[in-house]
C-alpha cells in the first residue's frame, strides 16, 4: 500500500545535482564523448542494444554515459526511449547466410567452405593486463589478405546431405511480439527466441552453463558461430516494394546437440539457435543452449525438471529490466506496509504472552 507523502523535493533535486557532478567526476580529466564510447566501448554498446532491444549505437552510447557505465540502467533508458517511437513496420527476416562475416568459426567441422575466420577475437589472448593500453599508443593497422572466397554458407546448409542434422524448414507464420502482447504461457519458439535475445546476459549464461553441467541433457557443440553485418530490408507500402533501410551487426550461433531420438523424432543431431544484436558470442552461445533446452517438449524429450527446461521460469526471470524493477522497488518507501506488519507482530506477541514489547523506531 502506498500513500502520498509530501516532502523530499529538495533532497531529490540535490541528490540529482550531486549525481550529475559525480557522473562527470574529476573535471581535470577530459570528458568522455559519445563517439568515444561508441568506438572504444563497442561491446558495452552492443550489450545495451541487444538487451535494450533497440539497435542504435549512438543512443546506446549516450545511455552508457548517462548511467555512468551501469549497463542495466543504460538498458532501462533504452527500453524507455523505445516505447516513445512510432513503429513503421516489421522488416523482412534478415539473411544471415549472406552476412559479411568478420568472424566465422565451427567447432565441429575443421575444413568447411568459407574457412575458419577468427576475426577480432579475445580467444587466444593471454588474458594478461596490457599496460601499454594505459599509455597513449598508436595501433598498427591490422594485416589484410586477398579475399578468395566470398560466399560463406551456413554449416548446416552443406553438411546435412545425410539428414543427420535436424532441418529448419521455412515457415512464414507471423511471429508473436512480446513488446505488443504480454508474455503468456505456453510460449512458442518464436516468442521464446524474442525473449531470449533481449534477456540478461548473465542470467542466460548461468542457465546455459547449468545445461552443460547436466541440468537438462543437452550436450552442445558450436556447429557455427558468425559475427558480421547483415542488410535490413523492409517493405515500403507507399512504394510497393522492399528496400534496404540499413545494416546491422549481429552474432549468430547454431549449436548441434546429441539426440538419441524420441517417439516422434529419429536419432539425429538437433539444433539450438542464438542470434543477438551486435558482437556478443557469449550471449549468442548461451541463447542457443537455452533455446535447445526449452525445445524438449517439441522434440518429445523427457522433462527432467531442470531449470533451463522450464519455459515459464526462464522467460519470466530472464528480463533484467523487469527483474530490477521489481527487485529495486522494495527500497522505495513502504512505511505504511511496514507499520501494519509491526502492529501485527506486536499483536501476535501479546497473544503469545511475550512480555515486554520494545518500541520500534519508525
Amino acid at each position: 500500500m502506498y500513500v502520498a507523502v509530501k516532502g523530499g523535493e529538495r533532497a531529490i533535486e540535490n541528490a540529482h545535482a550531486w549525481l550529475a557532478e559525480e557522473r562527470r567526476g574529476d573535471t581535470s580529466v577530459a570528458e568522455l564523448s559519445i563517439a568515444q564510447i561508441k568506438e572504444q566501448l563497442k561491446l558495452a554498446v552492443d550489450r545495451v542494444m541487444a538487451e535494450g532491444s533497440l539497435y542504435d549505437p549512438d543512443l546506446a552510447a549516450l545511455a552508457i554515459k548517462q548511467s555512468r557505465g551501469d549497463l542495466i540502467e543504460a538498458i532501462f533508458l533504452i527500453r524507455a526511449y523505445r516505447t516513445t517511437l512510432p513503429r513503421f513496420g516489421a522488416t523482412e527476416p534478415v539473411g544471415t547466410s549472406t552476412m559479411a562475416c568478420d568472424r566465422r568459426i565451427s567447432a565441429t567441422f575443421k575444413d568447411l567452405p568459407g574457412g575458419q575466420i577468427l576475426g577480432p577475437t579475445f580467444d587466444y589472448t593471454h588474458r594478461l593486463l596490457d599496460f601499454k593500453l594505459a599509455a597513449d599508443g598508436d595501433v598498427p593497422e591490422a594485416p589484410t589478405r586477398e579475399v578468395t572466397q566470398h560466399e560463406v554458407p551456413h554449416v548446416t546448409e552443406f553438411l546435412n546431405r545425410e539428414g543427420l542434422i535436424e532441418e529448419a524448414p521455412r515457415d512464414d507464420t507471423p511471429p508473436p511480439d512480446l513488446t505488443r502482447e504480454p508474455l503468456e504461457m505456453p510460449a512458442d519458439r518464436a516468442l521464446r527466441l524474442q525473449a531470449l535475445t533481449r534477456s540478461d546476459e548473465g542470467f542466460t549464461l548461468g542457465l546455459a552453463y547449468s545445461t552443460q553441467r547436466g541440468y537438462a541433457r543437452n550436450h552442445a557443440f558450436v556447429g557455427e558461430l558468425r559475427i558480421g553485418a547483415v542488410a535490413v530490408e523492409m517493405d515500403i507500402p507507399e512504394l510497393g516494394f522492399a528496400v534496404e533501410i540499413g545494416e546491422i551487426t549481429v552474432t549468430e550461433c547454431e549449436t548441434v546437440n546429441q539426440f538419441k531420438g524420441s517417439k516422434t523424432e529419429p536419432p539425429q543431431f538437433t539444433r539450438g539457435y542464438g542470434l543477438v544484436f551486435g558482437q556478443s558470442e557469449r550471449k549468442a552461445i548461451s541463447m542457443a543452449l537455452v533455446d535447445r533446452a526449452l525445445r524438449w517438449e517439441e522434440l518429445g524429450e523427457d522433462n527432467v525438471g531442470a531449470p533451463a527446461q522450464d519455459t515459464e521460469f526462464v522467460l519470466y526471470h530472464a528480463d533484467n529490466i523487469q527483474a530490477t524493477g521489481f527487485l529495486e522497488h522494495i527500497k522505495l518507501p513502504h512505511y505504511v506496509d511496514f507499520q501494519s506488519e509491526l502492529e501485527l507482530v506486536r499483536k501476535l506477541r501479546r497473544e503469545a504472552g511475550a512480555d515486554q514489547v520494545p518500541e520500534a523506531a519508525e
Binding site: 542494444m49 532491444s53 575444413d111 507464420t173
Partner: protein, 151 residues
C-alpha cells in the same frame, strides 16, 4: 527477399545505397555537385522504429529480434518528382538528403546525380566492405598437418 519487378530494381538499389550512407555524406556529395533543388514536404522527417525479424535456425519460422531506429520522409520537387527515404538512425538531415536524391534520380538530372552522389557512395561502401573482408581473410586459419612421431 521480396521479388521486385525490373522496373523498380534500379530505384530499390539506389534507395538501399542511400539508406546505408555515412552521416552527412549524401548532402556533402549533393551540395558539391549542385544547389539543392526546392521542394515541399509530403511527409516531414519522422523518427520511428522498425521491428527487425530473423528466422529460427537462420531458415525456419520468423521471430522478432528487436527494433532499429528509422527516419523516414517524403517530398515533392518543384518539377513534380516525389522522393522517399527510409533510413536507419535518427538523422532527419540525412533522410531529407536521401529523399532529395531519390526524387532527383527520377528527373532530368539523374545522370549528374548518379555520377556525383551514387557512384562515390557505392565506391566508398564497397571499399569499406573490401577492407573489412580483407582483414577478416587475414585471420582465416590455414591448417597444416604435423608429421606424427610414430610414422
Amino acid at each position: 527477399m521480396k521479388d521486385t519487378s525490373d522496373e523498380n530494381a534500379p530505384r530499390k538499389a539506389w534507395m538501399s545505397l542511400l539508406a546505408k550512407a555515412p552521416e552527412g555524406r549524401i548532402a556533402a556529395l549533393l551540395h558539391a555537385a549542385m544547389d539543392p533543388p526546392k521542394f515541399t514536404w509530403l511527409r516531414p522527417p519522422e523518427i520511428g522504429s522498425a521491428m527487425v525479424r530473423a528466422r529460427a535456425g537462420g531458415t525456419g519460422a520468423p521471430f522478432n529480434l528487436g527494433e532499429v531506429t528509422v527516419t523516414r520522409c517524403a517530398l515533392t520537387l518543384e518539377t513534380g518528382e516525389i522522393g522517399h527515404a527510409y533510413i536507419q538512425g535518427r538523422s532527419k538531415a540525412d533522410a531529407e538528403a536521401a529523399a532529395l536524391v531519390d526524387a532527383l534520380m527520377q528527373g532530368q538530372s539523374s545522370e549528374t546525380v548518379r555520377a556525383a552522389v551514387l557512384a562515390p557512395l557505392e565506391g566508398e561502401a564497397s571499399a569499406a566492405r573490401a577492407t573489412r573482408a580483407a582483414k577478416a581473410a587475414a585471420t582465416k586459419v590455414d591448417f597444416f598437418t604435423m608429421t606424427r612421431g610414430e610414422d
